[in-house]
């Protein structure tokens, strides 16, 4: 099957999946006993009729099935609706998505930059102290809750005063020149990127090491060694190329979690990203915003898997897309 047809087919499969997801999420959110207009009703200065008008505007006075129908019809037309705070959901998401994407891309970049060479190194030097050291570091990373690491680094930052805590920019951000702004952003990103990179390291490093060890046992590696190739060449040209396939699948997962994987870290570090926005929206039952967030996260997940499958096809022509 050629690649464009395969993509079309997978997109076609994704539509019913997204429909089920939206029904599940909508039902879940409707069951929550939170009144989205509670903060208006608690304010004595707001009249009954104003609240009625607000209910009308947000469609809250209609039965849930009708509300879902309205939401779906708007979605098909490309309209994500309005948030309970009045703004367009699309604009709200866009404002935050950029920040989360920045964090996600940097994290993936550093994770892979460190984890892939570390995995190769550990695989080649299996059983040496360096392998064991990486083993300990990744075990710690696998078991460390993100929120604990974030708190520990905050503690360090507060104790030393070397790094700013929380947020993405300093109060005087807009008074700085371009270089100063870059520097400020970078300083604010150090803690969140470190947290997420350390946590993400374990999966990639272990996968890389395991793949390499598998491949190093293969006959063609023995052949390459037997014909007298230098070990460097054997590793780089013969073993590595065959060891990266499972990593591409892993890369698909990483892509999928770019926008939704950092929610807890964002909350602890007061990072103005999508995850924190969604958490706040769930707590105030901002239906349109939460639905949009969940759908966005799900689309990313499905797209990530598709991306991985297609990349695999390019890397390894033996794989048949079906």
């Amino acid at each position: 099957m050629s690649v464009p047809i395969y993509i079309l087919k997978r997109v076609g499969q994704a539509v019913p999946l997204l429909f089920i997801i939206s029904v599940l999420s909508f039902t879940m959110l409707k069951l929550a006993p939170i009144d989205p207009l509670a903060y208006l009703k608690a304010n004595p200065a707001i009249s009954r009729s104003a609240i009625k008008a607000e209910e009308e505007r947000l469609g809250l006075n209609k039965p849930p099935v009708v509300q879902y129908g309205i939401w779906l019809a708007n979605l098909v037309r490309g309209d994500l609706g309005v948030s309970t705070t009045g703004g367009s959901v699309f604009i709200l998401l866009m404002q935050r998505a950029g920040n989360t994407l920045l964090l996600g891309v940097l994290t993936v970049f550093f994770t892979w930059l460190i984890a892939v060479p570390a995995g190769i190194w550990a695989g080649v030097n299996r059983g040496t102290w360096i392998d064991k050291l990486f083993g300990i570091v990744t075990t710690l990373g696998m078991s460390m809750p993100t929120f604990l690491l974030a708190l520990l680094l905050l503690m360090l930052a507060l104790g030393t005063g070397a790094l700013p805590i929380g947020g993405l920019t300093s109060p005087d951000f807009f008074q700085r020149d371009a270089f100063g702004q870059m520097l400020d952003l970078a300083r604010h990103l150090v803690i969140p990127v470190t947290v997420l990179t350390f946590i993400g390291l374990a999966g990639v490093q272990r996968q890389m090491r395991a793949n390499l060890l598998d491949v190093l046992r293969a006959e063609y590696v023995r052949t390459a060694r037997a014909k007298g190739l230098p070990e460097r060449k054997v590793i780089v040209h013969h073993a590595l190329r065959n060891a990266i396939n499972p990593l591409i699948t892993l890369f698909g997962f990483e892509f999928a979690s770019l926008l939704s994987g950092a929610a807890l870290t964002e909350t602890v570090l007061a990072y103005p990203g999508l995850g924190r926005l969604t958490l706040e929206a769930v707590l105030t039952k901002d239906m349109n915003l939460v639905m949009a967030s969940i759908m966005l996260g799900s689309v990313m997940l499905i797209a990530g898997n598709l991306l991985a499958d297609i990349l695999l096809k390019f890397v390894d022509p033996r794989i048949a897309l079906e």
């Binding site: 019913p16 999946l17 089920i20 997801i21 599940l24 999420s25 879940m28 959110l29 069951l31 929550a32 006993p33 939170i34 075990t139 710690l140 696998m142 078991s143 460390m144 809750p145 929120f147 604990l148 708190l151 520990l152 905050l154 503690m155 507060l158 104790g159 805590i165 979690s257 939704s260 994987g261 929610a263 807890l264 909350t267 602890v268 995850g275 969604t278 958490l279 769930v282 707590l283 039952k285 939460v290 967030s293 969940i294 996260g297 799900s298 997940l301 499905i302």
Partner: protein, 373 residues
Amino acid sequence: MIQEPPAVTLPVPPRRLRRTPWQRLWRDHLARTGLIVLALLYACAGLADPLTPYSMHFNDPDLANAPPTTVHFQDDEGRWTWPFVRAVKRRFDPGTFRQLYFEQPDKSYPLRLLVAAEPYRIFGVVGGNIHLIGVDPPARLFLLGSDVNGRDNFSRLFFGAQKSLTIGFLGLIIAFPIGIIYGGVSGFLGGLVDNVMMRVAEAVMSIPSFYLLIGLAAILPPGMSSSDRFALITVILSLIGWAGLARVIRGMVLSVREEEFVLAARAAGLPEFVNIVRHVIPQTASFLIVAATLQVPSFILSESGLSFIGLGIQQPDASWGNMLKAALDNVNDLPSEPWLIAPGLLIFITILCFNTVGDALRDVLDPKLQGTA
């Protein structure tokens, strides 16, 4: 002359070459350490009442946010004595807007072992009032300081463990049967039903799990009793964990049912359903044991995360997650109050132990390696 044949010395019969999985797990030093630490943690959680100086709800409103009580081993003249503490008084400093805590030097209160104090019932059955350690009031033994309500952090860690450590296993008890039955039925029926069931499982897996978690936690009404809330959070955790398991079980059912021994049973006339239950599902056992060991820490982590952002176990009940929330609420004082991190470290240690044991267990139970060591 017939010579006596040389005596054949049989080699010493080898001790059992093949060890049970349990023995092999125990020989792994890391796994053994993990198991021992976990056993200690669970023992502390179970015996929280007699081991701690105070109960979960005991509070001293005059000593909120106190730092850890200093235990003195030397008296004022520098002589070594039986450890004692001093009563602490709180004073507000209007200059810095801070609470200051001062020891009262006039009287010392020795640490007392097996002291009779607040009555309790372990698991609601065994009653008693003997606490392993304590001091006479008005002095307090707050080994890790007190929280915003003046409750003892150290004691609450033990009671928090009761919630945080059991929720993982309770989640398993719900998630695993759902996953096994769902995956088994899907693989057994096949065709359209299988297709629909798998699409639903995929949909659940495609929702980012953290969003699903907070969405479901937000359903819980605020006024519910703490035990109801605990039960429902367990249900929520398992609602997230079952789908991945169901997919794997389905895949295993599909492949195992083509194996020869299953074909043989089918040829012998065993009904297909009985065949699946008796021959196919047991083949997934070693996978299930490993998956369970690795699923428990992820449930513990989810509960802590949920309680940490205020959607899980609620005050006044203790859980490691909601105790760690105090660290986030006082983040600016964290460098001077590092003991607030303690619940987080316990979460970390617990998950580390489960992961270590799970990794070792996977090596031990891997069918490809079985019988070789």
